[in-house]
Symmetry: C2
Subunit: 262 residues, 2 copies
């Protein structure tokens, strides 16, 4: 099943998505809902973030080939992480599919995509085992962890490297019933495939991250965990590009890129 | 003026606080409100977080004497930051004044307080100058940026060092009309003063942080910026302690400390 969140004439609602058809839901997939008789063409609705996120967790480095590529391109010597330490991103940066990524006028660049699987938490959870960890997940969506590489290298934190307004596209839909460790994520820039990887290559599984977080923190409905990216994240993005993060079962997270005028 | 948020018989409301008296407000200090005729004794109400935070920004290192003390105690060589790079904490960790700080059973310790001034954003803001920066601030409250020093040193991120459930006490009230660069923050542990410093010693001012954030990010009502701590953050906290972050105009953020049983 796929859930989306939509706006029509100022009214916001969840819908179930079946191809190009949307059925309006009464209620929320995070609590309870029932299907209504209202049906829409997907293209006729304004697509919003698929939910309103609360805590924004991320895996950071979670695939070996991405770390190796980064070291090669940037001349760094980043080691593979030895344990699943959790990072943070910020809600201000979120945009829905279709909205524009705005590169700040003073960005030295390069700005690059990072296509990621995102676990969306549906239930309050604490002290889960890895065997039980996925029980708190409502479903999965896609994220683009846009990164300004000069600021990522120079700043003491990842604040503007990763969290400028518009730097965190999220969506388009939440798909349920997926195995998070066996999905293909691909990235297209201007229609050309730029990256393709399997989530089976995660260094630390979704289950491991969730269980580890809940050892110290309560997960709440609406929390999310971005699970990292694999492979190279080229070509560098420039004004006029369109970047798409794709998974067959979730959909396509598509965002144009513009550069702010100084 | 001082604003608090309270619960009475399941009902949540903002109030204005005058000594031990609370006047219930109709509305919110983040939008609009008017005073009602309902008055309460402060002690008769359940005190909540003074507002529901959205984006949780922090200064991290923002006072020289704290960095120097840390280097001395921990044998580190942390340099003073050269620019105001912004950090993040996580909403899961917030607790109100009066609630218990719970040290995880497997914490190697030490766990220490960090008493901080917190700027509470009241208006949407982007591209502010330093001269205009404080115009978006509704008021100021206090935060305790509890820190597990072993995890802070060993982990790749500050996730469990700083963001375990209950590790971010916030409150008790939001005070308006203060000069954030001329306040005395003190910390008491079991009634004994452990630290006292002036916010005039910030390396980067509240104005500078706000202006810099808004160069890249939109600040929203309900966002907050924790502005760092000065001085030593001893004694180490243990089961049964009570830690208080104090400012004459804001109030006392008081939290007991318990250690979770393994």
């Amino acid at each position: 099943m796929k859930f989306g969140r939509f706006e029509q004439q100022g009214r916001i609602f969840f819908g179930s998505v079946d191809g190009e058809a949307v059925t309006e839901l009464d209620g929320s997939p995070f609590e309870s809902y029932r299907a209504t008789a209202k049906r829409y063409e997907l293209a006729a609705l304004k697509l919003l973030l698929p939910f309103a996120p609360v805590n924004f967790y991320c895996a950071g480095l979670n695939y070996a080939a991405h770390v190796e590529w980064g070291n090669k391109r940037k001349g760094t010597h980043t080691k593979l992480p030895e344990k699943a330490d959790v990072g943070y991103r910020s809600l201000n940066a979120l945009i829905a599919s279709g909205e524009s990524i705005v590169i700040p006028a003073d960005s030295p660049g390069p700005v690059q995509f990072e296509g990621e699987l995102v676990a969306v938490i549906g239930k309050t959870a604490r002290h889960l085992s890895e065997a039980d960890a996925l029980n708190c997940v409502l479903g999965y969506t896609l994220g683009n962890d846009l990164s300004e590489r000069t600021w990522q290298k120079q700043d003491r934190t990842l604040w503007r490297a990763k969290n400028c307004d518009t730097f965190k596209p999220l969506g388009p839909f939440i798909a349920t019933g997926l195995d998070p460790m066996n999905l293909i994520i691909s990235v297209r820039v201007n229609g050309q495939e730029a990256s393709r990887y399997s989530t089976s290559k995660m260094l630390f599984s979704a289950q491991h991250f969730i269980a580890r977080i809940t050892q110290y923190m309560t997960l709440h409905p609406g929390d999310m965990i971005w699970l990292g990216t694999d492979e190279a994240t080229e070509p560098d993005l420039k004004n006029g590009d369109v970047v798409e993060i794709c998974n067959d079962q979730i959909g396509v997270l598509r965002n144009p890129v513009v550069r702010a005028k100084g």
